[in-house]
Symmetry: C2
Subunit: 508 residues, 2 copies
């Protein structure tokens, strides 16, 4: 990987979160910032979010900068009673990312309790009560990273840190929807996104998808023909999407598809919740029996090769992007960030203040030390490129095993370009007991796989609309190649293939 410091330096100088400073383009040209401001989203806010006020105590914060002032105000414990002198971690060294290399040549990084140097994020601060938008230092790194990857095309965007995407999604729902509101989603989606919404009285509604995710024309048709009386609720104004490496279908929308969907959202004034845990699990192209394509040769190439996010297309400020460390660092960090228009990010921050307060200070201190102080933007991009190579290798082994073991003519799939999942369509029409109906066939194949000692997830578990279950006459199973060692994935697919063949009465 080439050193591209100059490129990053210029992008970082420009990463302002939207203030009107001159913007340096990647090619080095400078031009005055001409980004428009986001639209006004007040009318999209829920009753809960509209009525949320800032704490009256915050009005006293202005006095805290008075020289010599002694505050007997805030109920903070003194850091003298935090029983930690320092925390440290042995972490992967840039360019030597494997577990084996980390064991022998890992980097030890340390966060002391007190560090008086300017801008230091020490434990006395990290473990104290902090801002609802996260520590300024880590937030700055994430804002720079967001600018570098997405270049949001409007001026007043902001980032706010979260306690991970599941928590952040609940925040977004509560910010934008009242009981009785509909929520648009891909027709098969992450079950938690549905389970979070339903108890709030929000009604999830599936939009038709193909191998690229939501079909723009289907979305337009649904919204254009919305009948409030028949539907029992106002026209949906929020859509939840997993645009890249979708869970469970593994689909990734092309730039063209995203532009088309975005245009429909503009037409019908829909806010997009872009949940992107798998964005950096975009993989190298897969061509059957061909050698793997070479990795991006530079950071510019890597960034340029990423599918454009909805955030990067968002001229209106109608996208709230949910970024997570769960798939690129570790789920246990319970730390992520939202990006969106400042007015909505302010509402999210106010919500944080009366819920999570902030992500864990241990998580923030360790992530800041790792990302900003140890790896830097350049090292983090190297890490992401390394993950791309790792996931590509795992997926390729998995696809080859599927080609070998799953019976042609019964099983089919779209090779995933991103994420952790492959969505296997199993044709029920050729099953000898098809007359017993799809639910029976789905369960038979699932149980036969369990008998053969492999667990795959039936597709119907991911459907948004209970009524639409099996209505297409198709059956799916979701598998993942992310967690289990590749040799076990191969063995598991051999078993799954045998299970299907047995069910379908095909000689092994």
């Amino acid at each position: 990987m080439s050193n591209v410091k100059t490129f990053h330096d210029s992008v970082l100088t420009a990463a302002s979160g939207g203030t009107a400073t001159p913007k340096l383009l990647p090619n080095g040209d400078q031009k005055p910032l001409e980004k428009p401001k986001a639209k006004d989203w007040t009318s999209h806010l829920s009753t809960e979010s509209k009525t949320r006020k800032a704490s009256p105590l915050k009005s006293s914060f202005k006095y805290l900068s008075n020289p010599g002032l002694i505050s007997l105000g805030g109920g903070l414990p003194t850091p003298a009673y935090f029983p930690f002198e320092s925390i440290s971690a042995k972490v992967a060294t840039v360019g030597k990312f494997s577990e084996e290399e980390t064991l022998t040549s890992g980097t030890t990084m340390s966060v002391p309790k007190y560090d008086k140097s300017a801008g230091a994020y020490d434990l006395a601060r990290a473990l104290q009560y902090g801002s609802g938008s996260g520590s300024p230092e880590l937030l700055e790194f994430l804002t720079q990273h967001t600018e570098m990857i997405h270049h949001p095309p409007y001026a007043d965007w902001k980032c706010v840190m979260t306690a991970g995407n599941t928590s952040a999604l609940a925040t977004c729902y509560r910010m934008l929807m009242n009981r009785g509101d509909f929520l648009l989603m891909e027709e098969y989606t992450f079950p938690s996104a549905v389970e979070t919404a339903s108890p709030m009285g929000i009604k999830p509604l599936g939009v038709k998808i193909d191998g690229e995710g939501v079909i723009a024309e289907a979305l337009d048709e649904l919204l254009s023909n919305w009948d409030e009386a028949a539907r029992g609720g106002r026209k949906p104004h929020v859509m939840y999407l997993i645009p890249t490496g979708q869970n469970p279908t593994g689909s990734t929308g092309s730039a063209e598809r995203r532009k088309a969907v975005y245009a429909v959202c503009q037409k019908h004034d829909v806010i997009i919740l872009e949940d992107e845990p798998y964005y950096f699990l975009q993989m190298q192209p897969y061509v059957r029996d061909a050698p793997p394509a070479p990795l991006p040769g530079s950071h510019e190439e890597f960034i340029a090769d990423l599918i454009p996010s909805y955030l990067s297309l968002d001229t209106d400020g109608r996208v709230i992007r949910l970024d997570s460390f769960s798939k690129v660092i570790a789920p246990g960090s319970r730390c992520g960030w939202l990006t969106g228009p400042a007015q909505l990010m302010e509402r999210a921050l106010r919500h944080n203040e009366v819920s999570i307060q902030s992500a864990s200070g241990f998580s923030q201190a360790i992530l800041y030390q790792l990302l900003s102080q140890t790896w830097g933007h350049s090292g983090y991009l190297d890490w992401l490129i390394n993950l791309r190579a790792e996931y590509t290798a795992r997926r390729d082994i998995c696809l080859k095993a599927m080609e070998e073991y799953l019976p042609e003519g019964i099983c089919s799939w779209v090779n995933p370009a991103a994420g952790m999942f492959i969505w296997i369509e199993v044709d029920p029409s050729k099953h000898p007991q098809i007359s017993e109906g799809l639910p029976v066939i789905e369960d038979r194949v699932f149980q036969k796989a369990i008998d053969k000692n492999v667990l795959v997830v039936p597709g119907s578990w991911f459907i948004v609309d209970e009524d639409a279950k099996y209505s297409k006459g198709k059956l799916f199973y979701r598998i993942t190649f992310a967690c289990v060692a590749s040799e076990l994935v191969v063995e598991a697919l051999k078993r799954f293939g045998a299970a299907i063949k047995e069910e379908y009465g095909i000689a092994a």
Copy 2:
């Protein structure tokens, strides 16, 4: 501090979270468990909580224990890609708790990525997706600690870990109340508890307090005379309390007061949310001009000397206790736990699954390593006794300075037995401009203090009912002695005294 291992061992053996094993009493006698089960609280659940379902994917968990099964099910990243080889921390050593001693004789503790020994809580697990009730290891420690301190008097109580009390409180509100419901609170309370409730459409309602917190008779009168039509809502069935070292009044209810309030809650079927961040900041008695009382000589004495919690009185299972590490370890841990009847804890767990998921794995790993593996229950009690000594010393210096600098006849207060706060009543009737009204006087004193370079918080900022503001004809200011060095607290009180004297036209 004496070694009381035998006592703890017996209590720990008995700490079962309520399963029907024989219980060892502190005196060593064994008797069969006769605790009743909690009442049924189904009718108290909110619409949101009632309709919350477990994830369908969980139904597949039962297969994961099949021998030899390969799961291609869960979307977990492999720990091989967590870039951490180990984390470690230098922490205070038992018996040498000061910052200075930690610097020179701190204990270094370490959590490796992989630890194959039985029951080890390594990073591969701590940083992976985990249970919504927290890691079993840390949860076990907290359950034992809860048994040891509170001995809840019913059988089926459980603990569930949270992301700190602010987040846990929001969970409890959403579990128990619908829009339009009233919430009982101390008439002056923690502003966040009000700010969390109001946007949810929950109507906070102040209950009269004295120096011991909520007055049982006032509570009974309010509930006995509830007029649904006049009030515009059903009779309240939830009460939020900070029973120990209340914020802002610093009050602590006696055992008698708590029993009386609990009886009223039984009479009117009210669930108590017992928010107890300051429970272990109970201090030694303060007697003016007397030397400080000696610290508890043993762990038994320390525990016996603690004010009984509502949880410890709760024969019905109508108390949900909120415990936090914020004031006894560090706020940045964003980790705490709920204790209550199993049926409500299951609802809280389900809510966690679609919001925070769990506390940060970094926090959990570090807290487990510190509390369970490094200090143990005995060392943690030593730490808490040490905190008691530290807070007692700070409070005593503060009280002495108040006695010296605040003008008698104008300022009065109850010496706090717990917590971080002192609630100073300033008699407005003697103010020369009293004709201008209480809000003016309150602000004049506040501003004069700011002019003298000291920040104190006006009492009206904590009032629950806007209408009740100033209705008692009293003015209060909240101060804290927790965060600022004691010599600065003394200086600040000197300034505050001067500000009051100047305002009241008294010669300095």
